[in-house]
């Protein structure tokens, strides 16, 4: 147990902060060159090695720097392939995904509730053993720019199977959805689409691994939300220190300081919770409890950090020539997709591990 950042984490975070601040027109090239797409992917599959926690360091910096969300779509698709397997699929897809050469996205969980991993599509078996997908996957992130989609389908006997599909292949049509903040998602229709690959060597997917995949997305974007909040906190401190009213910096008013302190407290809570969730998922756990807590804290902390930042900036932060709203929109988008705090609170009810833990703790107090 050691809850302070290691020197390696601090170095990685400083490197990423420089990289993300200096990026030019095509950020994904610089990220690919730095091996970001391969963080947490073992080297045998062409990744950069390391753990999911290192990808977490990236997520926090990505939120701070407003790194395009499409990066996550590809990274999460790669981790879906890694977590769901099997070996053949990993060797086939991960080298290009981990190098950032192929862009991808996922359609594995409900955009309203990441705990709902029931497939949206029907998977039909062909006489030759291949699979075809039919149905609609809604709110698929960055579908228009992705080359591949990692998607689940339900076969005739109700089993959940995982597939890799070409988004540009025949039978795939999509209706772009314009979301807050210019975030790109689409309602994607599959009409008898032939798949490129079946995950897990064609065997049904393990529900816990699916939950773990969805939880990885929730936990990583929770750390992104922490980065969003921290960036906004820093610029709010800077602005209120420069801005004078009544002959003194508005940062010297206790009311302003207490708003900043509350942002800091909420973001500390969110950061520890999200780092804990990413750590547990990286260790192989489904981490339902930790993920729920991470989302509950990060969604609330980041939204309120941005809204309180608007309050302390006043009109100066409300005009679009100040770009504060970009962080506010990212906070609202990421704290919604996959489920917000109220949805995440319900995940605690289906966490068998934590229910067992309560029982264990209560047994320990026998005689007390």
């Amino acid at each position: 147990m050691k809850l302070v950042a290691t020197q390696e984490d601090r170095d990685l975070s400083a490197m990423l902060r420089g990289l993300l601040a200096a990026r030019g027109a095509e950020p994904s090239d610089a990220l690919a060159a730095a091996g970001i797409f391969g963080l947490g992917i073992p080297e045998e599959y062409g990744g950069s090695g390391g753990t999911l926690s290192e990808l977490g360091v990236f997520a926090r910096e990505a939120g701070r720097a407003l790194c395009p969300l499409a990066t996550y779509s590809t990274v999460l698709a790669a981790h879906a392939v890694l977590m769901l397997g099997g070996e053949e699929s990993r060797h086939r897809w991960l080298p290009d995904l981990a190098a950032g050469r192929t862009s991808a996205t996922t359609a594995l969980w409900n955009a309203n509730d990441a705990a709902d991993v029931t497939p949206a599509l029907r998977a039909d078996r062909e006489p030759d053993g291949g699979w075809r997908l039919t149905g609609t996957a809604d709110f698929v992130n960055d579908a228009e720019t992705a080359g591949l989609v990692v998607v689940s389908g339900m076969d005739a006997s109700g089993r959940t199977l995982g597939f890799v599909c070409n988004v540009r292949g025949p039978g795939v049509t999509m209706r772009p959805l314009t979301l807050m903040g210019g975030h790109c998602a689409a309602c994607v229709r599959f009409d008898d689409v032939a798949v490129e690959d079946v995950l897990n060597d064609g065997k049904p997917l393990d529900r816990n691994q699916l939950r773990r995949t969805a939880n990885a997305a929730v936990a990583l974007t929770s750390l992104d939300l922490v980065g969003v909040g921290e960036a906004v906190l820093d610029r709010t401190v800077a602005y209120t220190t420069l801005r004078h009213q009544f002959g003194r910096p508005i940062a010297s008013f206790q009311a302003a300081q207490h708003i900043v302190a509350d942002m800091h407290i909420a973001l500390t809570a969110a950061r520890l919770a999200a780092q804990s969730a990413v750590f547990r998922i990286g260790r192989g756990d489904t981490a339902v409890r930790e993920t729920a807590i991470a989302r509950m804290h990060s969604a609330t902390a980041a939204k309120w950090a941005t809204l309180d930042a608007h309050q302390l900036h006043g009109g100066m932060g409300y005009v679009v020539e100040t770009d504060l709203y970009l962080w506010s929109e990212r906070a609202r988008v990421l704290s919604t997709l996959g489920g917000g705090a109220d949805v995440a609170a319900t995940w605690l009810d289906d966490d068998e591990v934590s229910r067992a833990a309560i029982g264990e703790r209560l047994r320990r107090k026998d005689g007390l």
């Binding site: 010297s252 900043v260 209560l362 107090k365």
Partner: protein
């Protein structure tokens, strides 16, 4: 970052739990509930002797000062577990005063005070606040004047918790009335049985006893001054940072929540079950999320202490977060239980012995005590983010 306890820490936790299972008896619990730790020859005193014999009062001290040399994380694990069991563990004398003596004391201070503290023979009450110097502690007026080989002390202290059972006062006094407020302050250790010390009990809303203590020409040897004369402000603020960390481990919160999870599923006298109400389910879920985080904050602070850093901003965050959470838990407890939640503490009919009725009355102390949350929010903004002082 590593969120797993290592094998060594797990073994330590098992040892602490084993000790508590064997030594937290019904008689001990009854005395804690009844007498608020005031029986010098009773169960609490015997329990403390066992802790002293195990060396647990000095468990995170270096061996040269009679300690076990275990880390801050070990201390945190022990404190959290003691809080969970409601057992009296190492107090502020060992967790915040002794480290200040180690860090700043003279050689004689260390030799004279540390070994008996490690044995549990010296316990200190914190003599900080005065009737006109509370949150604004630096305006304290209790004076110590040098007279030959002695300090002569006059003044009074308030909110002096534990004076009735402590052996000494860790007393904050003004030794240079002409220096700027923070600069003329020293810390002197004063035996409570010195002639001229008078203790007046003050009973708080929770039933908790604190005291006002008067010093009337109290004389102590000059060697009882800790460290250097007029440097006391640094020692007490350092001790306060450690105190906040020690006061705010989440063990008692975890315990209260575990009990609430059971009570929420237990039918009330009218047959209704609280958990059937979705609003209660949501509040319990939010409380789970908050207690989990309060625990992580404790691990974070103890990890930093283990690296030799006093985590001033981090323990301020932890203290504000956990003290406000404690009030929400107390409030939720009574709401969940409804009218039965009002059954008074120690009423045999009260669910969970009326612990939430009592907690509701106790929780305000933790929010304003040990540095008010308002001042700690200033600390977070000013020390954590460099926002300007407004002349507090």
């Amino acid at each position: 970052m590593d969120f797993d306890l290592d094998a060594n820490q797990l073994a330590w936790l098992a040892e602490v739990r084993e000790f508590l299972r064997e030594n937290v008896t019904d008689a001990l619990r009854a005395e804690i509930a009844e007498h608020n730790l005031e029986h010098p020859g009773g169960e609490v005193a015997a329990f403390r002797r066992k802790l002293g014999a195990k060396g647990w009062f000095g468990l995170n001290w270096p061996a040269e000062y009679g300690g076990l040399g275990l880390g801050a994380v070990h201390l945190h694990l022990l404190m959290s577990e003691f809080e969970y069991w409601g057992a009296p563990g190492p107090d502020l004398t060992v967790t915040s005063i002794a480290p200040m003596i180690m860090r700043h004391g003279t050689e004689q201070n260390k030799r004279e005070f540390l070994p008996p503290i490690a044995r549990g023979e010296i316990t200190c009450a914190l003599g900080y606040s005065e009737p006109d110097a509370g949150t604004d502690l630096a305006s304290l007026r209790t004076r110590a004047v040098r007279d030959g080989d002695e300090w002569v002390i006059n003044g009074s202290k308030i909110w002096n918790s534990g004076a009735q059972r402590s052996t000494h006062e860790w007393l904050c006094v003004r030794t240079d009335p002409n220096a700027q407020r923070h600069r003329g302050i020293s810390v002197i250790v004063v035996p409570v049985d010195s002639p001229g010390v008078r203790i007046r009990p003050l009973i708080a809303w929770s039933g908790y006893r604190t005291n006002e203590v008067f010093f009337d020409d109290v004389r102590v040897p000059v060697t009882n001054l800790i460290g250097e004369e007029n440097r006391g402000w640094a020692y007490i603020t350092g001790a306060l940072d450690l105190e906040r960390g020690a006061l705010t481990n989440a063990g008692d919160l975890r315990r209260a929540l575990d009990e609430l999870q059971v009570l929420a599923r237990t039918p009330r006298r009218d047959g209704s079950v609280p958990i059937d109400n979705p609003a209660f389910r949501h509040r319990l879920a939010q409380t789970e999320a908050d207690v989990e985080v309060a625990g992580l904050m404790g691990y974070q602070a103890s990890s930093m202490l283990a690296d030799g850093v006093i985590p001033t901003v981090e323990v301020s965050v932890e203290k504000v977060f956990s003290s406000e959470l404690r009030q929400r838990i107390a409030d939720l407890g009574i709401d969940l239980l409804g009218a039965e939640g009002l059954l008074a503490h120690r009423n045999p009919e009260a669910p969970a012995g009326g612990r939430f009725e009592k907690l509701y009355r106790f929780a305000p102390l933790m929010r304003f005590g040990g540095g008010t949350n308002e001042v700690l929010r200033d600390v977070i903004a000013q020390r954590g983010h460099g926002m300007p002082s407004y002349g507090r």
